[in-house]
Amino acid sequence: MNVTIQCFGVFRSFGDRIALSVEKGTTVCELRGLLRDKLTQLDSSFDNSGLIKNSHFATETEILADSAPLEEAMNIVIIPPVSGG
């Protein structure tokens, strides 16, 4: 199934959105590894697993727990460490 990840903050250097094909039942936790691989494909110099580990995934209405399963055609956003105010 396909999910779309909206890039936010420092991830905008990879574009507005990243499409990923994942297996049914994939969790947010597993998505971290898949996204790291995808980002390395897009930019071979990308080497920042810590950034992905310290980022959260969210929908328009909630932050997703690591155990949350992904759903078909899901639109999610990756939120890196924050610095508002």
């Binding site: 936010f8 903050g9 420092v10 905008r12 310290n54 980022s55 959260h56 969210a58 328009e60 209405t61 909630e62 932050i63 956003v77 939120i79 890196p80 460490p81 924050v82 610095s83 508002g84 105010g85």
Partner: protein, 160 residues
Amino acid sequence: MGAIFVDICDVATQPLDVMAGLAFVTRSPNGAENLFVGTVRGVNQGKEVLGVSYDVFESLAKRSFTDICAEARAKWGRELSLYVTHGKGRLPVGGVGIVIAVGAPHRDEAFKACRYVIEQVKHRSPICKLEHYADGDSEWTKGCELCTHEHEVAGHGRHS
């Protein structure tokens, strides 16, 4: 009973209005208003800054503001009125990035609630900051990992 107002403003078309915040929270019979205004610093970690660009995930940011304001009222009283607006887009040095205003019956809860709101926003609201430097570089500030609950914030250090 008090009221809550939260918003995100595109600063290219709508600069943040400090006095609007103060006006919103000034309500009878309360007798104390506290105002926090966050502006863009000209230096960060020894580098001269020309401005910043705020990237805001609006729907969740507004929700976080509303949750935080509701928590402040639960802690310091339903009479509190709270106003939170944050800018998105590019601001020069000295530009206003956030306005927080709190109206309360007395100064103690007004000060405490205002401090609470800014500390929580810094850790729980999905907002990123790209700094633009005098040497031509731009860099996303490192920030802190997004906290999803109030109690997580206490374990994090304070950020400027």
